[in-house]
């Protein structure tokens, strides 16, 4: 876990953590000292935990080294906890770096997920995902999904069905809705009926359907192109 978070932080360009939070006034970085990172267990430069996490933080049990006598949080961990967009938008670690991705880029990243890449897909926009990253996996709100090759296949089927006009809710159902199906020409109708069952494994595990839904939406227009 430690190396994964460090790699992501380096691939993101080693950014300074957002010390100011939501306030507009810039805040100087808190004093750092030598200690153990409560999240990753790495020994090195840390800051006190109170500068990173607020009193509203509850899941202390996920910081494995929090009881170490000189526990603090390292700079990558502080960045992962305090950088707000990480909780809000899908991000991907690819060969070109770590950044927020549009749905089409997310789709490509999921199709080519290697052992040294990572994808985070927030669902509730309220949870920390990147601090608990593992390489070669997809992180959703509360779980780490192993992304198998047949998941990539199912994702292709999912996109095909979405393009034929089936909605995200319809795809969670065990059979295709007739009003949509009856409008399709015969070869497509046949294809849908044969491939609808390919997603049956996902239907018992809705997190993967959520990830696929995020990856097949239309791209948002870039605010400043």
């Amino acid at each position: 876990m430690s190396s994964a978070l460090h790699r992501i932080w380096v691939a993101a360009g080693s950014p300074e953590p957002n010390w100011a939070g939501r306030s507009k006034t810039p805040k100087p970085p808190p004093p750092s000292r030598h200690g153990v990172c409560a999240l990753t267990g790495q020994v090195g430069e840390v800051v006190d935990i109170r500068h990173v996490l607020s009193d509203l933080f509850t899941t202390w049990d996920r910081l494995r080294w929090r009881h170490a006598p000189d526990a603090g949080l390292s700079i990558p961990a502080a960045w992962a906890f305090r950088h707000r967009p990480l909780q809000q938008q899908p991000h991907a670690l690819t060969s070109t770096g770590f950044r927020a991705v549009q749905p089409s880029e997310l789709f490509d990243a999921l199709c080519t997920l290697e052992d040294d890449s990572f994808v985070s897909v927030p669902q509730s926009r309220q949870k920390h995902l990147v601090p608990f990253a593992e390489l070669g996996t997809v992180r959703v709100d509360d779980r780490t999904l192993r992304w198998r090759p047949d998941d990539a296949h199912a994702l292709g089927t999912y996109r095909g069905l979405r393009r034929l006009g089936f909605g995200e809710t319809a795809l969670t159902q065990p059979s295709p809705p007739w009003p949509t199906l009856s409008r399709l020409p015969t070869p497509e109708k046949r294809w849908v009926l044969v491939h609808w069952a390919d997603l049956d494994q996902w239907r018992t595990d809705p997190d993967r359907l959520d990830v696929a839904a995020r990856a097949t939406r239309a791209d948002k227009e870039q605010p400043n192109p």
Partner: protein, 146 residues
């Protein structure tokens, strides 16, 4: 297109159920048998396709063997005998030689998928035939099968 004989149920469903497990194929063919032999005076109109899975489910829950299930469908939907000899023989084979527990479980859990498959198969097969019949008014339309 030759219209002197109706295709059998197995022929109509063939390419939609080719790579399914055997109990799924048997269940789908049974639902198709119900579809072609139902009492057409009562079971027609738009809500028919919503009612069919519901009846299939009720019968599958209350029956413990496939002949019992078919008996329930006869009571509920007025099923008669298929008109083709091949279909009658196939139905008898399905009711006697299938794995009852597995097929009843499939009828129970996959009823909507089965009904949609049968509906699409009939639409693909006879929808095209109806379209040809409409363009060539000499040939008699085979709407009875729909």
């Amino acid at each position: 297109m030759s219209t002197d004989k109706f295709p059998t149920v197995a022929e109509v469903l063939a390419d939609l159920i080719a790579d399914r497990p055997p109990e799924w194929v048997a269940a789908c063919e049974l639902v198709a048998m119900v579809h072609i032999t139902r009492d057409r005076a009562t079971w027609t109109g738009l809500s028919y396709w919503d009612q069919l899975p519901a009846r299939v489910l009720v019968a599958a829950r209350s029956a413990s063997t496939l002949p019992e299930w078919w008996q329930q469908m006869v009571t509920r939907m007025g099923c008669g005998h298929p008109s083709r000899t091949e279909d009658r023989q196939h139905l008898a084979r399905l009711l006697t030689t299938s794995d009852d527990t597995a097929v009843l479980h499939t009828l129970d859990t996959e009823r909507d998928a089965l009904a949609v498959t049968v509906r699409a198969a009939w639409d693909i097969h006879f929808g095209a035939r109806r379209a040809t019949a409409a363009t060539q008014p000499d040939e008699p339309a085979q709407e009875a099968m729909l």
